[in-house]
Amino acid sequence: MSMVGNLSNEQALIAYKNAVRARTLDIKIINAQRQGIIGFHVPAQGQEMIQIAIGMMAEKEDLIFSYYRDLALYLQRGVPVGDIFDQMLGNSSDLQKGRQMPDHFSFSEYNFSTVQSPVGSHIPLTVGAAYAMRYNKKKGIVIVTFGDGATSTSDFHAALNFASVYNLGVLFICENNGFAISMPVSKQTKADIYKKGSAYGIPGKRVDGNDLIASLAGLQEAFDYVRSGKGPYLVEAVTYRIGPHSTSDDPKKYRVDEITDGSDKDPIRRLENLMLKMGVVDSNFIQTTKIEAKQEVDKALDERMNIPPTEPSSIFDDVYEKPTWIQEEERRDLDASD
């Protein structure tokens, strides 16, 4: 059964479930942060639909450079909730050995790259990754996500220019959630973000990132363009940051919420209403999905929060492939000071 266009009922159900899981996980993390269990979080509420859509359109061999606010994208691509908690907790099961603050993942098993804090600085890396993929005749494209603030960085402009000059398969996706911490996008730029590629010969498109159907339809053209080898493409997904910038931020200082969790404009609610209206699901399904998501994240955090941290002396590993005498000496000093 097809719900809309190429979107099957089954795909829509999975998308909906993952969006609910992401929202539930996000709320859980915020609560855990308030309880002192997790140090920090960059909430992604409100941006689930564009992230789900990217996850649905991307093939396994496509390499994704995500940014620090892409929780739903990880879930849609199959990353287990437990692995996310391990990173958020920085415990000894964390794939990155507790080296990074929460939300800075490197799920390379799911063909994600690595997330850093300096805004936009991952964008130029996509150019080299795409170059390497083409050089090594590997299948797939490179997808990169970033916020509206990132479009002001030199990194963004350098990357667009380079990707275009070398005609590389990079799909640039701006998740324009309206704010860069406190700065509304109207103060970030006077231009339309999706048009910014035109200075570099890159086509662009604006999509409604709060609507799954519109996101999928809009992304289709962009994915087709990049996959066909025509070069890079820039998508501006207009979405909305429901929460604060981070758990350290108080948005009451600078804005009035226009969309809130569960309101009719909430992207998840929009999909929910559409599916109910079309008879794809009933209210029982909605309720069960939410309960299951809550059980899943509760259980995962319970399981993971007692995993001990890494050994203190491991802080000296991975600075280099092999520690130099400097790290070795400092490791001995640390051990001796116990």
Binding site: S108, D155, A158, N161
Partner: protein, 321 residues
């Protein structure tokens, strides 16, 4: 064995390394048809094509960002920044991505990247073609920083940098590019990263230097008959602490010479290592001869660069103590 200069040595080494490893790509401004403004990559585009010798748009951030992505995903990029003075737009990439990707991913990714860049003064380059910024990089864990002082080390250090799976900042003292010719074997060999060279044995004092001031120091001690141990550090991160302490303990008198500004220069770290580990052996205060703490002055560059007179003043000072 033919005598070649540093540019020829680097060019030949890049050529041989590229011939042996298809993962190597070069990228930078004017490095293709032009062969780089100092000609280090001369003729390599003709030989290996535009896919492997990549002329880039004029954007250092873009060069290093692109090279980082290449290195993370299976290539062995060797990036050229035309002058070290121009590297700063890429400083965020170098400090926050290049140096930290291995660490922050728990070793799941690495950045086996070489960043070559000419540095230092003496070519009438003024403020922006003369700086010695090695301390900026040597202060960043995750980077390896090397600087050859002669055509032989240039080849050996480049081969070692190539074999490293970590990022290497490869600083080329531009005023030595064509100043010295030495015999360099045509087979590839390594100069071990982290190992200093002792260029001269002496008993009265130790002179520790690197890069562009190595020939200045050698000429000075030879001309003036100074009985000095002369150490060429060659690697600035990680420094060869063993060689530094050994010579300090042997002579008890240390002069450090470099072209970069004195304050928080490499000499400060050398001094601190000696103070921490060999202060009992010292018979005189350590003296640093360095570039002045000013921007690099165009019309007085000879005054700025450590020369014979300033080095001998320092030598006489520690010997008289």
């Amino acid at each position: 064995m033919p005598q070649i200069n540093m540019v020829q040595s680097l060019n030949r080494s890049l050529d041989q390394l590229m011939a042996g490893d298809e993962r190597i790509v070069l990228l930078g401004e004017d490095i293709g048809i032009d062969g780089g403004v100092f000609r280090v990559t001369d003729n390599l585009m003709n030989k290996y094509g535009e896919e492997r010798v990549i002329d880039t748009p004029l954007n250092e951030l873009g060069i290093i960002g692109m090279a980082t992505g290449m290195a993370m995903y299976g290539l062995k990029p060797i990036a050229e920044i035309q002058f070290q003075d121009y590297i700063f737009p890429a400083f965020d990439q170098i400090v926050n991505n290049v140096a930290k990707v291995r660490y922050r991913t728990g070793g799941r990714f690495s950045v086996p990247l070489i960043i070559r860049t000419p540095y230092g003064g003496g070519v009438k380059g003024g403020l922006y073609h003369s700086q010695s910024g090695e301390s900026y990089f040597a202060h960043t864990p995750g980077l390896t920083v090397v600087t050859p002082s002669n055509p032989y080390d240039a080849r050996g250090l480049l081969v070692s940098a190539y074999k490293s799976n970590d990022p290497v900042i490869f600083l080329e003292p531009k005023r030595l590019y064509r100043a010295i010719k030495t015999e360099v074997p045509d087979e590839l060999f390594e100069v071990e990263i982290g190992k200093a060279a002792k260029l001269k044995e002496g008993d009265d004092l130790s002179i520790i230097t690197y890069g562009s001031t190595v020939p200045t120091v050698m000429n000075t001690v030879e001309k003036n008959g100074v009985n000095a141990d002369v150490i060429d550090l060659r690697t600035l991160l990680p420094m060869d602490v063993g060689s530094i302490i050994e010579t300090a303990e042997k002579t008890g008198r240390v002069v450090i010479v470099h072209e970069a500004p004195k304050t928080l220069g490499v000499g400060a770290e050398v001094s601190a290592l000696i103070a921490e580990r060999a202060i009992d052996s010292l018979r005189s205060p350590i003296v640093r001869v360095a570039g002045y703490d000013t921007p690099f002055p165009y019309s007085h560059e000879e005054l700025y660069l450590p020369g014979e007179k300033r080095i001998m003043n320092a030598v006489n000072k520690v010997l008289a103590h």
